[in-house]
Amino acid sequence: MSEIVTTGADSAAATGRATAASATVDLDVWEIVIGLEVHAELATRTKLFSSATNEFGQEPNTHIDPLTLGLPGSLPVLNEQAVELAIRVGLALNCTVQRSVFARKNYFYPDQPKDYQISQYELPINAEGWLELPSGQRCGIERAHLEEDTGKSTHIGGGGRIHDAQYSLVDLNRAGVPLLEIVGKPDLRSGDEARAYVSELRSILVAVAASDGKMEEGSMRVDCNVSVRRRGDDELGTRCEIKNINSLRSLGRAVDYEAARQVDLITAGDRVVQQTRHWNEEDGRTHTLRNKEEADDYRYFPDPDLVDLDPDPAWIERVRAALPLLPAARRHRLADATGSSLEQTALIVERGLDELCLAAVAVGADPARTLTHAEHNLSDERAVSLDPSAFAELVGLEVGGQLTATQAKQVLAEMVSSGRSPADIAAERGFEAMESSELEGLVDGLIAEHPDEWQRFCAGDGKITGFFVGKVMKATQGKADGKAVTALLNARTG
C-alpha cells in the first residue's frame, strides 16, 4: 500500500522541530540538496491506453470503460497523442528520445483497477536532459517517462484515512489518465531554486501545450527529495521524499522545514532515516508516511500486452520542428535584444510580453524603459494585445520628457484598458509637461510656507524630500516630474 498517511508515528523527538517557524539552516555550514519528481497530466483527449475521455472533476465514474475498470479481457492500446506530447516535453527538456518499454508496477490498491500500474521502468521514452532556470543555471533531468494515473479514493469516517474509515468511495475518472513523470537530478540547493525549477518546468509544459500545469488542481504534482550535508562533503546525505506539496509556496516551505529538521537530527547526534514524508500545510511540518526500508517490492516486469515503443526518427524530427520557441530561448532573445540581464527578462517572458517588447524596441523604443514598464506596469493580462508602436510612442513621450514616469504609467494603464493612443490619453488628462518657471514658482512658494520642513531638508534629512514632492504633486495633480522637483529643491539649498 503506498499512499497511506499514518500520523502519530512521529514522537516529538523524531519530528525534531516544534514549529516550522524555527526552520532556518546555517547555509555557511550546511548544503541543502534537492531533487524533484514532477508528475504532469498530459492534455490528451483520451486516456493513455483506452478511448475513455481524459476529463475529471465531474460525476464520479463517468469517464470509464472496460480497461479503466480493469475488467477481465480488456487490453491496453497506447495513445499516440500521449506519446507525441511526451516527445514534445522530452525535446523541450533537451532529452534523448529513445526506444522505451512499458512495464507493470504491481501493487494492490482499491483505486488501481488492474492492481498494477503501467509505467516505464528500465527504459523511459526521454532520458538525460536539462532545463535552464531564469538565473541561467542548468538543472539536470534524469528521465521523463509515461505512466498511468490512479483513480481517487475518498475515505468516509475515521478522519478520512483508509485504516479507520467506515467505507471508501472510489472514482476512476482519473484512472488511466496519461502522466509524464519528470525526474530531476539532485542539482537544486534551496527552496527558491526548487520553486524556480518547478515554475520553469510548468512554463515549458504550457509552452508545448503538453499540460495545463496547474499544481493546485493536481494536474502537476511535485514530490521533493531533500537531503543535507556539510559544505565540502562529496557524499550526499540520506534523503527523505516529501509528498503532498500543492503549491510553489508549499514547496519552498517544505524544503526549508525538512532541511532544518534533518540538520537538527544530525546536530543532535542522530541520523536521518530514509523515509517518505507527508507535508502538512496546516502545521507547516513534514510527517512520516513510511520508511523506505519497508518499501513494497513492485515486481516490475515488461508488460506483455504492449510492444516496445520505438518512435520513428522522422516523427521525432517533425515534432521538434513544430516546437515553439521555449521560455529560456525567449529570455535569451530578449536579453540579447535589449542589453538587459537574463533575470530581468524572466517575468516579462512568463507574462508573454517579450514579443511586444521586442517589437516596440524594433521601432525605436528605449530598451531599458520598455522592459521597466513591461516588468512593473503591465500585469494586466490584456497587455499582450498592446500595439507595439503605440507602446513605443509612449516610451518615446516619457524619454522625451513630455510625460513624467507617473504619468506614463497612468497613460499605459489606460492604453491597455481602452486601446487608445498615448497622445490622445495624455492630452485628455492634460498631461502636458509643466513649464519649468511654473514649477520653480510653486517650489519657492512651498519653501516659504514651510520654513521648519525646509530647515530639515537643508540639514540633510532625506525623508522630508517626499513632503515637498507630495505637496507639488498635489498642487499639480500629478503633472509635475518628481525628479525635477527634487532637483529644484537641491538647487535651492545652494
Binding site: 480488456s74 504491481n106 492492481d115 498494477y116
Partner: protein, 478 residues
C-alpha cells in the same frame, strides 16, 4: 454432405447458405445430443439455448430473404468460458468470477457472430486455464466422451469434449502451454494454436499474456481452417496483434506434401513418451513420406528446458494478470473490516489451489533479488528455444511430435502431483514460448483404444505448410 445429416461446419454452412438446411434444425440436432449426454460429460458451464435459437432463426430468415449470413452460417459453436460474451456469464471456472457478465464480446466472438455462427454455450475449463485435465474447475470436472472414467485433457477440456461428443461441430479454446492441442489429442479432435498475434486476445481473460492464443477445435482439418480464417487477422484492440490478414489456409488444403521437408523432434520421442503414442507419430511420418514428403529426425535441444521456463514465465504473468480479482469492482467479495483483509479473504475464498500455487510461483519469480535468477533466466531460455527452432526450420518446413505423452488418463490420477500434471504439456509448451503455430491431428488410437494426437509444428506464420501436412495426415487415415 450438405443434407440434414451434415456434421462438419463446412457442410452445415454450405447447406444453410444454399437454403437446403435450416440453422434451427441444425441447432436442434446438436442440442438433442447435448440433452442426451451433457449430464454425463459436463462440457458446459452455461448453455445459451434460447439465444442460440433466436440467432439460428435469424440466420434462416436472412437466407430466406436472399441474404448470405457468412461462411459459418448456422454453424453451432461452443466457447471456452474464458472468452468474454456480452451479457452471458464468463466465469473462467472460478468462484471468483461466478455470476459476472461482461459488458462486451471478445473480438473472436464478434467475428464468429458476424460470420453467421450460432453460439450454444460456454465450456468448462481448468480454473483460469491453469491445468491439463479440466479437473481444476470450480464447477467440477469435464469427462472424456470416449471414456467417462478419463479426463478430456485441459485446460480447454470442455470445448474438446463438446466437439468430440457432437454437441457442436466446432469450438474455441485458448492455448497458453498446450490447452487446445492436448485436450484435442485426448478427445480425438483437431485442435490448433495459431501463430502468436494472428488471433486477437481482446476479450480473452488473460492467463499468460505473452503465451495465450485463441484457436479452434473441430472434427476436420478443413473446419479448423475455416474457423481460423473467420477469427484471425488484425485487431487494433490488441497491441500484440500482427497487422495483417490471416493467410488463406483453406485454399491450400489439397496441395499435398510432395517435396515438403518434415522433421521428427528427437527430444520428444524418447523418455516419458508412451510407446504406443510414439508408434502413432512414426506411423504418421510414414504416411507423410508415402505422400512425397522427406522425413528425418531433428534435434531441437532447447525444448528440454521449455517446461522449466514456462513455469516461470506463465505464473509470473498470471500473478500480475490475476491481481485484479480483488473484490473491489466485480465478482466475488468476502467482506472484512479493512480493504486489505477484504482483498485477502476474497482471493483466499475465490481461487482454487492450482491458481494460488501459480500466483505464488509467479510472485516469487518476479521478486526483487530473484528476478534475474528466475524470470530473467526464463526469458533467455525462451530466446534459446526460438533460436533452436529457427535452426531446425532452416532445414525443415514442419516438425512432428506427439501432442501429449500419453492417451487420456484416469480422473484423479495426477491431481495429487502437480509436476506429473505439468509433464503432460512437455511437447506443447515450447511452441508457446516460441510464439509459433502448432496443431494436433487425431491419428488413430493407442493400446487402450483411446485417441492419439500427432502434433504438427511450423515456424511463425507457417500455417499453410502446417495445414497441408495436417490435411494429408487426415486423408491417410480414411
Amino acid at each position: 454432405m450438405t443434407g440434414p445429416g451434415a456434421t462438419t461446419a463446412r457442410d452445415i454452412a454450405a447447406g444453410v447458405r444454399a437454403g437446403e438446411l435450416s440453422a434451427v434444425a441444425v441447432l436442434d440436432a446438436h442440442l438433442e445430443r447435448v440433452g442426451l449426454r451433457e449430464a454425463d460429460i459436463h462440457a458446459f458451464n452455461h448453455l445459451t439455448e434460447a439465444a442460440a435459437r433466436a440467432t439460428a432463426a435469424t440466420i434462416d430468415a436472412r437466407v430466406s430473404s436472399g441474404d448470405d449470413p457468412g461462411p459459418l452460417a448456422g454453424v453451432p459453436v461452443a466457447l471456452k468460458d474464458n472468452l468474454c460474451t456480452h451479457g452471458v456469464p464468463t466465469t473462467c471456472s472460478s468462484r471468483i468470477l461466478e455470476g459476472w457478465c461482461p459488458p462486451y464480446d471478445a473480438t473472436v466472438v464478434t467475428r464468429l457472430a458476424a460470420a453467421g455462427a450460432v453460439a450454444v454455450g460456454k465450456t468448462n475449463l481448468d480454473e483460469f486455464a491453469m491445468g491439463s485435465s479440466t479437473e481444476n474447475s470450480a464447477f467440477g470436472p469435464t469427462l472424456n466422451p470416449h471414456d467417462l472414467s478419463r479426463v478430456p485433457g485441459g485446460s480447454s477440456g470442455g470445448s474438446a469434449a463438446a466437439v468430440a461428443a457432437g454437441f457442436a461441430p466446432v469450438a474455441l479454446g485458448s492455448d497458453t502451454g498446450g490447452s487446445i492441442r492436448q485436450p484435442a489429442a485426448l478427445c480425438g479432435v483437431v485442435g490448433v494454436k495459431p501463430t502468436y498475434g494472428t488471433v486477437s486476445r481482446l476479450g480473452l481473460v488473460a492467463f499468460g499474456s505473452s503465451l495465450d492464443q485463441i484457436g479452434p477445435f473441430s472434427t476436420t482439418v478443413a473446419d479448423a481452417a475455416l474457423v481460423l480464417e473467420v477469427i484471425g487477422g488484425h485487431d487494433p484492440g490488441d497491441s500484440t496483434s500482427i497487422p495483417a490478414p490471416f493467410p488463406s489456409v483453406s485454399d491450400h488444403l489439397d496441395d499435398g506434401v510432395a517435396g515438403l521437408r518434415v522433421g521428427i523432434i528427437t527430444e520428444m520421442m524418447g523418455e516419458g513418451i508412451a510407446a504406443d503414442v510414439a508408434a502413432r507419430v512414426r506411423a504418421s511420418a510414414d504416411a507423410l513420406a508415402a505422400a512425397g514428403a522427406t522425413v528425418e529426425e531433428v534435434s531441437v535441444p532447447a525444448v528440454m528446458y521449455g517446461l522449466s521456463a514456462y513455469y516461470l514465465v506463465a505464473p509470473a504473468e498470471a500473478s500480475s494478470n490475476l491481481a485484479r480479482y480483488d473484490g473491489v469492482r466485480y465478482g466475488l467479495r468476502v467482506d472484512a473490516p479493512t480493504t486489505g483483509e477484504m482483498m485477502e479473504r476474497t482471493r483466499t475464498a475465490g481461487f482454487g489451489d492450482e491458481v494460488k500455487r501459480r500466483i505464488m510461483l509467479g510472485t516469487y519469480a518476479l521478486s526483487a533479488g530473484y528476478y534475474d535468477a528466475f524470470y530473467g533466466k526464463s526469458l533467455r531460455v525462451r530466446t534459446l528455444i526460438r533460436q533452436d527452432f529457427d535452426a531446425a526450420y532452416e532445414r525443415f518446413d514442419v516438425l512432428l511430435s506427439p501432442t501429449s505423452p500419453t492417451t487420456a488418463f484416469p480422473l484423479g490420477d495426477k491431481t495429487a502431483d502437480p509436476l506429473q500434471m505439468y509433464l503432460n504439456d512437455v511437447c506443447t509448451i515450447p511452441t508457446n514460448l516460441a510464439g509459433h503455430p502448432a496443431m494436433s491431428v487425431p491419428y488413430g488410437v493407442g493400446d487402450d483404444g483411446l485417441p492419439v494426437g500427432v502434433q504438427v509444428l511450423a515456424p511463425a506464420l507457417g500455417e499453410v505448410a502446417m495445414f497441408r501436412t495436417a490435411a494429408v495426415l487426415e486423408g491417410s487415415l480414411s
